[in-house]
Symmetry: C3
Subunit: 152 residues, 3 copies
């Protein structure tokens, strides 16, 4: 059994949904760190396990969706703006602007974390799956994701 944990800082992005699989997993420097812990090498040493990403913010989200056509990301943002409208009459919490409270709603709806199975050192994402950062603020800045890997 081995455990590994690190924090990956995602660079600032504009409001909307962004494909961050490579940044969180594929090119992450922690894979090299795991090397030193696990002689088989990185996640490559994990025969069966789980990969967990947890975003430490309440106005951004992580979820799983399509990794191919960018229009899925723009359409997802369109539905989100339509259904959780900026400056809705029933929102009182607007100290940081019209995008403040809608961002909190989206954080709870889309969720703060994703948990993905590992097999023989590889994430078991489906062919068309990737990890989406939902950036729900106009100027959210950089975002911290705690990555935990466990397995045998």
């Amino acid at each position: 059994m081995s455990w590994f944990q690190t924090v990956v800082t995602l660079r600032p992005r504009p409001r909307g949904f962004h494909l961050v699989t490579d940044e969180l997993v594929g090119q992450a420097s922690y894979l090299r760190s795991v090397d030193s812990v696990d002689s088989v090498g990185g996640m490559g040493g994990v025969r069966i396990g789980l990969w967990h990403g947890f975003i430490q913010h309440t106005s951004a989200s992580l979820s799983i969706n399509e990794n191919a056509d960018p229009s899925v990301r723009t359409d997802l943002e369109r539905w989100t703006r339509e259904s959780i409208p900026d400056g809705a009459r029933y929102f009182a919490h607007d100290a940081e602007g019209d995008d403040d409270m809608p961002a909190h709603v989206k954080a709870s709806l889309f969720g703060a974390g994703v948990l993905i199975p590992i097999r023989d050192g590889h994430l078991q994402l489906g062919t068309w799956q990737g990890i989406y950062l939902g950036e729900h603020r106009e100027h959210g800045g950089s975002r911290n994701v705690v990555v935990t890997v466990m397995g045998e």
Copy 2:
């Protein structure tokens, strides 16, 4: 500590929500496979643990909801169709039809996975809880779920 992982293929189902607890857990052949790994027998050998199901698709979902009255499933689909409408004017991604982009929205909203505690070999679902497959396409076909069991 023991880990077990397999892929369960759910048979094709019509669009809507479906109770798949038995198919994923109760009658799953991997329980027999675990037998051979764990002398106490199946998940029965797990005193404390977690059961994870992860669907490898971006137009279907897994979530937890009521296992009794089928009208919960039909009403959940009604809300979903009302709130994420097929062919909405703001969707550009429609290469596969009017149900294409709404299915992606639902995948991120309802989520790709469920994580359920295990105690003394049994899933700790509440009395009224079951696992729902959300089939969000008209003709989604069979769906693969990676099942990971970990525990001691």
Copy 3:
């Protein structure tokens, strides 16, 4: 590697969102129980790990959101009532009242569980993050949450 599991019963609360981090984590009596298992003391003995909370009900939810301004909780409830309206014409499942079926929709949307990383005995929540109970019934009563801690 150590595992710990218990059930925390949350006292009855009115319909809406409630911050329950302390009740689930901070003051939980199970930390003392873990003491007896783990000589380093409570979750303090977990160098790297995960904390999982799972609510055993289909008309309540757990999610992560802001731990400071209470207006985030009231506004989240406002959006939720607006978007999943009591007694909507398309709901057939109303045996227990107009809040019955909307509560089920919210259970699947907000989710039954949260998974939070642990580092050196402390939950790795962001500065502004807490755990929200979504009580989606007018008279939901007390709610059971299965807490599982795993780590090394």
